[in-house]
Symmetry: C2
Subunit: 146 residues, 2 copies
DNA sequence: ATTACTAAGTTAGCACGCTAAGATTGGGGC
DNA sequence: GCCCCAATCTTAGCGTGCTAACTTAGTAAT
């Protein structure tokens, strides 16, 4: 069927994102990207924006704008980093923590159910995905084109 | 490690897209999205924009704009569908066909190499991805939230 | 023939990704 | 003290997703 794995991957992720987006927007009025950002910040604890960008897998300007929006909605706070330098230390507010817990449960349950219905082994698919990701990120795009 | 498969999938796809984007931009001055659209049109033959949107996994307005841009660059043509109705039949120009061949080879080689280096089985990963995609698209988001 | 329905496409406006280039902060050398 | 460097963050501007609402072309019902 699929003559092209990378295309299917693209489509799968796009559909997953859109589906998550609809669910989260309906339930909490938050986009999937924003929830993802909150989850990452929660996972990292008090982190710099650079770290958040890295972990989200987006550019620094994207992370900067996103954290700005979330600070605006009262789900994040950003202080200057006490360790000095031109850094901002972002962390969850109480509202943000609440939101993270609720959304995380909602998404995990949904996604696990999808995997179960598809008959795919969660653990082996997760392992393979992790390997691909590691290989891609460590090989760090050396030469663009021969 | 990955407490969250859906996040890793998201990151993997995002990195793949960006990587493909850099390669294609450097080689042919075309974004990955545009190349993807060309490939789909080539695969479908003469198709309506709706079919292209469906196959790309994007909304109709997105496909409409994208085909408009590609017609503007001379890689696609769009005629009114001879079967009537408010349809446009899009297909590749000669330039478009050339571009598709070159890009397809470039991307396939790169991606296959990544998979090989990661030690993941291409066929089983492709099968699982296909299953997830099928399950997700056939279950068509019934109830947003209980 | 006129009215209404359906399918496909477009327009408008926003969300959020990117790159390139500028601003800020702290720590070197001279 | 002063200048420059490295790291981080921001600004500017664009590409391409999305939804909502509108337009257009053909079909069916009266």
């Amino acid at each position: 069927m699929s003559t092209d794995l990378s295309f299917d991957l693209h489509r799968l992720t796009a559909q997953l994102d859109r589906s998550a987006d609809r669910i989260l927007t309906a339930a909490y009025g938050l986009s999937y990207r924003r929830v993802r950002t909150l989850l990452i910040v929660g996972r990292l604890g008090a982190a710099t924006q650079r770290a958040v960008a890295e972990e989200l897998g987006v550019s620094e300007p994207s992370a900067s704008r996103m954290t700005g929006v979330l600070v605006g909605t009262g789900l994040l706070v950003a202080d200057p980093d006490p360790k000095g330098g031109n850094r901002r230390r972002v962390s969850l507010t109480v509202d943000g923590k609440e939101m993270v817990e609720q959304c995380q449960n909602l998404l995990e349950v949904r996604f696990a159910e999808l995997v179960r219905r598809s008959g795919v082994s969660y653990s082996s698919y997760a392992r393979d995905t992790g390997r691909l990701l590691d290989t891609l990120t460590t090989s760090a795009a050396p030469d663009p084109v021969p």
